[in-house]
């Protein structure tokens, strides 16, 4: 039997969920034994295989056109899509800007903030991604498994990865269910 392929990527998040993934420590070797870890932000491959992976894991909410691309690419290349961490599951901390709107958030961050130099401008390079409201991953693409947590606990991540690597769907409840 071939090992299931796992790939991950990050979007509008803080990368903390991937840090928590590294926090499973030596159990990472066990997962690497059970599964074929493909493209992730912390491995050399940068995009999930075009030929597809079994499990796609996405951290972060969907905050602009670039994130949308990442989300759709992962969705189209994986069988099981995992929303990883509170930002991917709910929108998380970045989604707080939805309360005031994108424009006001940009104005505050790039112009009004006290530490900015005078005459600061909101970047307007056409090559930059187009911003949108921050959305949970399931608002953009179909999600098969939600793993909430800010970040998810290493023990929860280990449980989820082990179940997926061994071909089972994790049961997210009781000690494995924390939104933080």
């Amino acid at each position: 039997m071939t090992k299931p392929k796992i790939s991950s990527d990050w979007m509008a998040g803080c990368s903390g969920c991937h840090m928590s993934l590294l926090d499973i420590d030596e159990r990472l070797l066990e997962i690497a034994e059970l599964a074929d870890i493909r493209a992730t932000p912390i491995t050399d491959l940068k995009e999930p295989d075009e030929s597809g992976v079994d499990v796609g894991i996405l951290e972060g909410g969907v905050n602009n056109s670039s994130n949308e691309e990442v989300a759709h690419r992962m969705r189209s290349r994986c069988k099981i899509l995992v929303a990883f961490g509170d930002c991917a599951v709910f929108g998380g901390v970045p989604a707080l800007r939805n309360m005031c709107g994108t424009q006001e958030a940009l104005q505050r961050a790039y112009v009004d903030i006290e530490s900015n130099e005078a005459n600061s401008k909101i970047p307007s390079d056409p090559e930059l991604a187009t911003m949108s409201n921050v959305r949970a991953l399931h608002e953009v693409v179909k999600v098969d498994l939600h793993v909430p947590g800010c970040p998810p606990d290493p023990d929860v991540i280990y449980y989820v990865l082990k179940e997926l690597a061994e071909g089972r769907m994790p049961d997210m409840k009781d000690e494995n269910l924390h939104w933080h």
Binding site: A83, D86, V89, F90, G91, G92, V93, A95, L96, N98, M99, C100, N133, R135, A136, H138, E139, V143, L145, H146, V147, P148, C150, M172, K173, D174, L177, H178, W179, H180
Partner: protein, 658 residues
């Protein structure tokens, strides 16, 4: 009794039990958010919907009375779906992002409900609307963004403290919780009792003192008794690393979870400087010393004086400490001035009356629960003994009428049906006028034909209008269960004629008779009644006293006391905190604060309760009782430690429940 079946299990409950409570009593979990065991069922959140055999649609269990033969299912797939939808809608309405909320991770009932339903995400995302956050209150923050509109806070405000400050504005998803007519909480009619914070299921009401200092699972909880006043409310002291994080009302106690700001918030804020070592005066300076040296110094200075030592104790001390204090100074040293810092002001008048008449005259606090008319005299329950005021205020919408007699402004004036503002110091005439008016109206329950004074004469003295007194008399005499509550304003007069007149009024209106005792005094601090029973209620006068021993504990030092101690040549102070008193002292003995010692409190209606220590005292600090025992040993005095017997030597004003 009623028999019903829930999830195949047949259970028996009392008549009138709701299905939700029936389930609770039998350890069957039905989820709920708006229901609270101490508040009237509301039926708002719809999380407790159950299927009842024979009924067309699911019903809310919290408002459904159980009836015989009912067959109920709580875990059908349809109900689980319905709960999921309800929770999804709740999460979609406001900002319920958990990571930056202080109750997330155990203390949030909303989050816990979602976990119980195995919700991993929100099927419907939030609507991204900002709701107001009110940070104007000194003790808590109201964040409407976290609110699920369960209205527990509103019900607590009304049903627990009877204050009716909180309510809602707007409709549907725009509904917000507001104070009064949407004024900032800090400027509203809020009295800071904190009941709303205690019952809030989410992080919408944030306690400034305890927020982010740990979840309930990180805190150690000690069930204890508030020492704030003589009511002796049950409390839970929540501590972490030997610090009080918060205090909550004990639902199991007589106060059923309700507290006032003096019980809930003030003790947590305590910022006075502690004394952690005995100190003695060397020249002009107070210098730290050992306990051994302190006791030796005390012996050298006190032993030769014998009866020339005046001794005062705070009525916040435990019953044990007060009894030992009395035994040490009165019986042991034979001092002629052994009293409390209250000097009997809140208790001596009625205690003397009972000494003369032989049997308890006061009733229990509980009479307020069923009172249909309350007369408050000489006491402002909005400023002291507040929880007793809550017992009255919350019954006002149910028809209980309130009469306030006070020459000055009274915090309960606004709630009163009748406010009588007599001339100051004319209490006897006020009571005589009421008595005469009741008799004149032909309503005297005693059948009395003539009062002590004529109505006209009494009115002339107190300056009240005849019409007002007549209304008062009718309101009191026509009610079924009237209760008179009096306070220091009456007892401080020291005038037995006032007491006699008040008792006569209690009799003619039927408040007190052979069956009922609808008259009681609020007394003073936590162990005011115990101090009175021990006879510690003399007026403190310095005669030829050469020294004074003040067992202050953690009590507040009044200017009045400082002034009286002016002429004392040698001053020993047993205290927890630095104060003007300890500055003046020649010898200072450091003691525990209330939360550091275990001891009994005897509350205003004679209910003896054990308060447990929740904190460990700093090193070198001893309990009040231990210090008194050490002092006795150093002076070679044997103290009587049978405080139980000491309490029962004098006839109590109220029946004791020891």
């Amino acid at each position: 009794m009623i028999n019903l079946t829930i999830n195949g299990k047949t259970i028996e409950v009392e008549d009138g039990t709701t299905v939700l409570n029936a389930a609770r009593q039998n350890d069957i979990k039905i989820p709920t958010l708006c229901d609270h065991p101490n508040l009237t069922p509301y039926g708002g959140c719809r999380l407790c919907m159950v299927e009842v055999k024979g009924m067309r649609v699911p019903i809310a269990a919290c408002t459904l009375p159980a009836s015989n033969g009912m067959v109920i299912e709580t875990e059908t797939p349809a109900l689980k779906t319905s709960r999921n939808v309800i929770l999804s809608l709740l999460f979609s309405e406001r900002n319920h992002f958990c990571p930056f909320c202080q109750v997330s991770g155990g203390d949030c009932e909303l989050q816990n409900a979602a976990y119980d339903e195995h919700m991993t995400h929100w099927p419907i995302q939030p609507q991204w609307t900002n709701f107001p956050v009110d940070t104007s209150h000194p003790f808590f923050i109201l964040d409407n963004n976290r609110c699920i509109l369960c209205r527990r806070c509103i019900r607590a405000c009304a049903e627990m403290s009877g204050n009716f400050t909180l309510n809602v504005e707007e409709r549907g998803s725009a509904t917000i919780v507001v104070a009064d007519t949407n004024v900032p909480l800090g400027q509203s009619s809020c009295i800071s009792c904190g009941s709303c914070v205690q019952v809030c299921p989410t992080g919408a009401l944030i306690d400034r003192q305890s927020a982010y200092l740990g979840h309930d699972k990180n805190l150690t909880t000690t069930r204890s008794i508030c020492r704030g006043c003589s009511l002796g409310c049950g409390i839970q002291i929540h501590t972490r690393d030997n610090r009080i994080v918060k205090i909550t009302g004990d639902y199991e106690a007589a106060n059923a979870g309700t507290l006032c700001k003096y019980g809930r918030f003030f003790p947590v804020e305590q910022k006075q400087a502690r004394i952690t070592s005995p100190m003695k005066r060397v020249g002009k300076q107070l210098v730290a010393t050992t306990w051994e040296d302190a006791l030796a110094t005390l012996t050298t200075n006190i032993k030769p004086l014998k009866g020339k030592v005046a001794a005062l104790a705070s009525t916040r001390l435990s019953v044990e400490a007060l009894s030992t204090f009395k035994s040490l100074f009165k019986e042991g040293l034979g001092s002629d001035m052994v009293t409390s810092v209250e000097e009997g002001r809140p208790t001596a008048l009625q205690a003397t009356y009972v000494d003369k008449n032989g049997s308890p005259i006061e009733g229990k606090l509980d009479t307020l629960r069923t009172a249909d008319c309350v007369l408050l005299v000489g006491v402002d329950l909005a400023n002291t003994h507040e929880v007793a005021g809550f017992y009255i205020k919350r019954n006002i919408p149910k028809g209980t009428r309130l009469i306030v007699i006070d020459p000055n402004e009274n915090g309960m004036d606004d709630q009163a049906n009748i406010n009588l503002k007599p001339k100051a110091g004319t209490d006897e005439a006020v009571f005589n006028a009421i008595e005469a008016s009741v008799i004149k109206e032909g309503l005297a329950r005693t059948g009395a034909k003539k009062g002590k004074s004529t109505l006209a004469a009494a009115l002339k003295v107190c300056g009240l209008a005849e019409e007002d007194v007549k209304d008062t008399a009718r309101m009191l005499a026509e009610s079924v269960a009237p209760v008179i509550v009096f306070g220091k304003g009456i007892s401080m007069s020291g005038d037995s004629a006032v007491m006699d007149a008040m008792v006569r009024v209690a009799n003619v209106i039927g408040a007190s008779d052979s069956e009922r005792k609808g008259l009681f005094s609020v007394k003073g601090e936590a162990n005011s009644l115990a101090a009175s029973l021990l006879g510690l209620e003399d007026v403190f006068e310095v005669k030829n006293h050469k020294a004074a021993y003040i067992a202050m504990g953690d009590d507040y030092v009044t200017k009045r006391l400082i002034a009286k101690l002016e002429k004392i040549p040698y001053l020993i102070v047993q205290a927890s905190y630095e104060s003007e008193l300890t500055e003046r002292a020649d010898l200072v003995l450091p003691v525990d604060i209330w939360a550091e010692e275990t001891g009994h409190s005897l509350n205003l209606d004679g209910h003896l309760q054990l308060a447990y220590a929740a904190l460990t005292a700093p090193e070198g600090v001893h309990s009040n009782l231990n210090v008194l025992n050490e002092v006795a040993r150093a002076l070679g005095v044997t103290v009587n430690d049978d405080w139980h017997a000491a309490l029962t030597k004098r006839t109590s004003v109220v029946e004791l429940d020891l």
